[in-house]
């Protein structure tokens, strides 16, 4: 004799009135089993209705035509990347791991290169040249790599008085070209906007 669970699994989805005689009599004796089988058959019947959703008539020709074109274009030869199948986070991790591995390899190769040792020894023997002292007084620039400001220190005790006469004359001429006289320069203008051309 088959038990209820076995009947339920084996005949789920079949309407009770279409079950084999022996099984149907067992089911009729067990109301709970019958109710569950009927419920399964009802859902299966409802799902069968979806079978009647018909695609548009042009689909058949359209798909085959496109597949034909894609095959002729060799799309089927392009192997799909394994990365495509992975979720986004896994792809990011994979990229980071690869980059880390590459940097390790490069770093190791660099350290193991005998030329590096020679270079280090040669560098140790190079005579260190002292920087040439330069005149740091006078006008100086803020933000030398952008739109900058030429600052003249109005304090007579400050850097401006350390300018060489030639440089000072040049600045004076530039200021005059800009329409700044001796008087209004000291009273009103301490900073000048200057645009530098980059090479």
């Amino acid at each position: 004799m088959k038990n209820a669970k076995h009947i339920l699994l084996m005949y789920a989805g079949t309407p009770v009135d279409r079950l084999p005689e022996e099984i149907r009599s067992r089911v009729e004796e067990n109301p709970e089993l019958k109710a569950r089988l009927e419920s399964q058959a009802r859902v299966a019947g409802l799902m069968k209705l979806k079978n009647h959703e018909i695609p548009d008539e042009a689909l058949e020709g359209r798909v085959r035509y496109r597949v034909g074109i894609r095959i002729r274009n060799g799309e089927h030869l392009r192997t799909a990347s394994t990365l495509d199948a992975l979720p986004d986070w896994a792809r990011m991790v994979a990229v980071v791991v690869v980059m880390f591995g590459l940097s390790l390899l490069t770093h190791r190769e660099m350290l193991e290169d005998p030329q590096v040792e020679n270079d280090l020894q040669a560098a140790a023997q190079v005579e260190i040249v002292e920087p040439i002292p330069t005149d740091t007084g006078g006008p100086y620039l803020f933000q030398p790599d952008s739109f900058s400001t030429l600052v003249l220190n109005p304090d007579p005790a400050g850097e401006v008085w350390n300018l060489t006469p030639e440089r000072r004359l040049k600045i004076e001429e530039s200021l005059l070209e800009l329409g700044l006289t001796e008087t209004n320069r000291t009273q009103q203008v301490n900073t000048l906007p200057v645009m530098f051309q980059f090479p």
Partner: protein, 200 residues
């Protein structure tokens, strides 16, 4: 590409189509595609509940099958083999799309209207008949989308497409017993979902 001018593809059987397609005969492959595309489209559509996605996937399945055709040894029928490709592709797609709900029910052809059982169920008279049909269609699609990919697959293959348990087992790589138990569980879920929908 082979010379196909003297061949009568209509009289060939599936085995010959497969053989010729494996040698690069596009006409033979087109015959295979024509033979199976309706059923595979049905599978893909019911898995995705979206016409455009199903059509794109159908193209991909045929491309993938063409690429893999040289590896087809004939251990299973071509039908089982290409269905397996389609099921795997659909499951992968649905997994990726999980967070994006994309039902284009408005675009569906209403071929369902021709089903006598449904017509009776949705009361053949009355101005709201079309609305009821559409509602039912929508409910079934929504309920299907609540199932896991594997449960959805068995419902689509068995209850909608009518494949036997052992065939589904071969396609999905599991035993017929597993197919039966997944089906049972899936229908319970569907029943609960449809009842919930009705009460809400």
């Amino acid at each position: 590409m082979s010379d196909t001018s003297e061949l009568h593809y209509e009289t060939m059987d599936e085995g010959e189509w497969v053989l010729r397609a494996q040698q690069g005969d596009m006409v033979a492959y087109d015959q295979l595609a024509a033979a199976y595309q309706g059923r595979i489209y049905g599978l893909l559509y019911n898995m995705t509940s979206n016409k455009e996605d199903a059509e794109d996937l159908l193209q991909e399945v045929f491309l993938k099958a063409y690429r893999a055709l040289p590896k087809f040894k004939g251990n299973s029928s071509f039908y089982t083999w290409i269905y397996r490709i389609a099921v795997n592709r659909a499951i992968n797609f649905v997994k990726k799309r999980k967070r994006r709900q994309a039902l284009s029910l408005d675009d569906l052809d209403m071929g369902i209207e021709r089903d006598p059982a449904l017509v009776q169920m949705s009361s053949s008279d009355g101005p709201d008949r079309d609305i009821r049909l559409k509602e039912l269609q929508e409910k079934l699609n929504k309920a299907l989308q609540t199932l896991s990919e594997k449960h959805r697959t068995v419902v689509v293959l068995h209850d909608i497409q009518g494949l036997p348990h052992h065939e589904i087992g071969r396609i999905m790589g599991c035993s017929p017993g597993t197919v039966r138990s997944r089906l049972f569980y899936a229908r319970q879920q569907l029943q609960a979902q449809l009842v919930d929908d009705r009460t809400s």
